[in-house]
Symmetry: C2
Subunit: 316 residues, 2 copies
């Protein structure tokens, strides 16, 4: 009936995606407390901070303080995001895990508005990053195709364009002798539907049958979990998600930018369908409740409110 | 790849499901204004009110006033819900459409807690209802299996039990010479997952290949839209949903009871996958914004906030 994976790996994006867009100032201690609680749930990787311009993203002005304060739990990776060499320099001084990535945007307009570069220019930029990572001994793990399912400016992003982006990332990696873990298709502004998931994942699979795929999904139009299910059916086993549904893309160009799909809702759905995540759902639901208390307003996650998290969590 | 229907019929449940659980008192005029705006979107049927005990459900104490005030648009059906003969008597005096239904609950415990009757007793009760409907010339259209995907007390509801409920409803209808439009499987407290949708819908289809199925889905654990997609893939073309995600089941026995899946998010997903709904998405998103203003707090719908509703709606 479908090709559901036996297990999925989930990267927690809540702290970075969430705290960078909150209007209220979040105390550094609260961020640290949340990250430390997340680390107790069994999530293998937590994206904690962005090394971005604090003028532009004030919520991340304490990035270094957060990084320094986290009591790290063995076996969990704590990552941060940088978008330029100044950000990388800060990351190199911080005590978190350094994971390299190469990123291109499938929509030319979105690329220009979000990064100020054409797609061609971003490829040249990624080549430069690969050299920098090699220089610093940073492993490059995943390639990312942003806006792989459409964007607010161009709306539809053709499948052929997505394939060109994937091919470009793989060529770049080959050129540097790097075996990527795989390629993420990112629904950066939440334009995807289950059908567009099937078509794009199907097209990539047809061309690169052995390439591992990851999905970064935003729930901007309510299709996030349906999209995740469509991908699970096709065997996708790597997802980004955000505890409590924290977050949203501050650069997405419209006020409706919603957060990633909600980690505990995704974990619930996976466990109930017999897909292992390695995550303790009850602990994760408690983290989601903590996140809501920290940001001081309701967050979109459902399982944290539904009261069945403990029962469900105990089964897997 | 799948058996997506060309078109779906959506019954709007927002006014009834929503206003009956809101804590704040909603003005009758606001309820009427919302229902009239919904009727302009192209939805074929709107469930407006419950004829329930106003002591128990104060939000419905103005049911008659709402029914009397609606300026009805031709081609739209305006329905109300009754649960006992006192409710039916009120419905018979009100100027709304009368649609008969038979309802049983697959979980014995939920049936007892929610209706005070065993499953066997509810079947006897439904037999009595069919006689009453015939007496009053009310057509009985759909059978409903409540908690078809599990409940909070028994958790798992076996597939064989769901099949028994469907068989019982069909036998009852046959006994009275009624050709039901079909049978609704209701995920009354939001326990379903895409996999349990596939299994239960598949089992019913296998036994009754020509039986039309409807789905009533609650998004209690975040799986609502994924469940809808799983059902669409199997060709299900009849859904209940709730504008803005209004509502929730006040009898569900836990505080986390969430509303139905959100109508405009469902419509967005359908339109983007080439499935017609006959609904104007931009108008519906405006209704959702109105609902949020009326209830005075955020509602879970996404498309009403995402800013792409107009563009998406204009395509279908």
């Amino acid at each position: 009936m479908s090709d559901l994976p036996k297990a999925v790996r989930i990267h927690e994006e809540g702290p970075r995606e969430g705290f960078q867009i909150e209007r209220a100032s979040i105390a550094t201690a609260d961020k640290v407390r949340f990250i430390e609680a997340l680390a107790e749930t069994g999530v293998p990787q937590i994206d904690c901070i962005s090394y971005v311009n604090p003028e532009r993203v004030p919520g991340m002005r304490d990035a270094e303080a957060v990084a320094a304060a986290i009591r790290r739990r063995p076996g969990v990776r704590y990552t941060g995001l940088w978008l330029n060499t100044r950000g990388l320099e800060r990351a190199l001084r911080a005590p978190l895990d350094l994971v390299g990535a190469i990123r291109v945007t499938a929509s030319e307009t979105f690329s220009l508005k979000n990064t100020g570069m054409t797609i061609e220019q971003t490829f040249a930029e990624q080549r430069r990053w690969l050299a920098i990572y090699r220089e610093h001994g940073i492993a490059t793990e995943w390639g990312y195709v942003m806006t792989a399912f459409g964007c607010n400016f161009e709306r539809e992003v053709p499948i052929a364009q997505v394939l060109r982006m994937v091919a470009g990332l793989l060529d770049l990696a080959n050129e540097h002798g790097i075996g990527l873990k795989g390629v993420y298709l990112a629904d950066t502004v939440g334009h995807g539907t289950p059908l567009s998931m099937e078509r794009r994942i199907g097209a990539v699979r047809e061309r690169w049958p052995d390439l591992r795929l990851g999905l970064h999904l935003h729930d901007t139009r309510g299709t996030g979990m349906a999209n995740a299910y469509a991908a699970l059916r096709l065997g996708v086993d790597q997802f980004d998600s955000s505890c409590a549904g924290l977050g949203g893309c501050p650069f997405a160009g419209h006020k409706g930018a919603a957060g990633n799909i909600c980690t505990e809702d995704l974990v619930y759905m996976c466990h109930e369908m017999g897909i292992a995540t390695g995550i303790d759902l009850a602990k994760l639901a408690a983290c989601a409740q903590m996140a809501e208390t920290i940001v001081g307003h309701p967050l979109p996650g459902k399982v944290m409110r539904s009261g069945a998290a403990a029962a469900a969590g105990s089964q897997h």
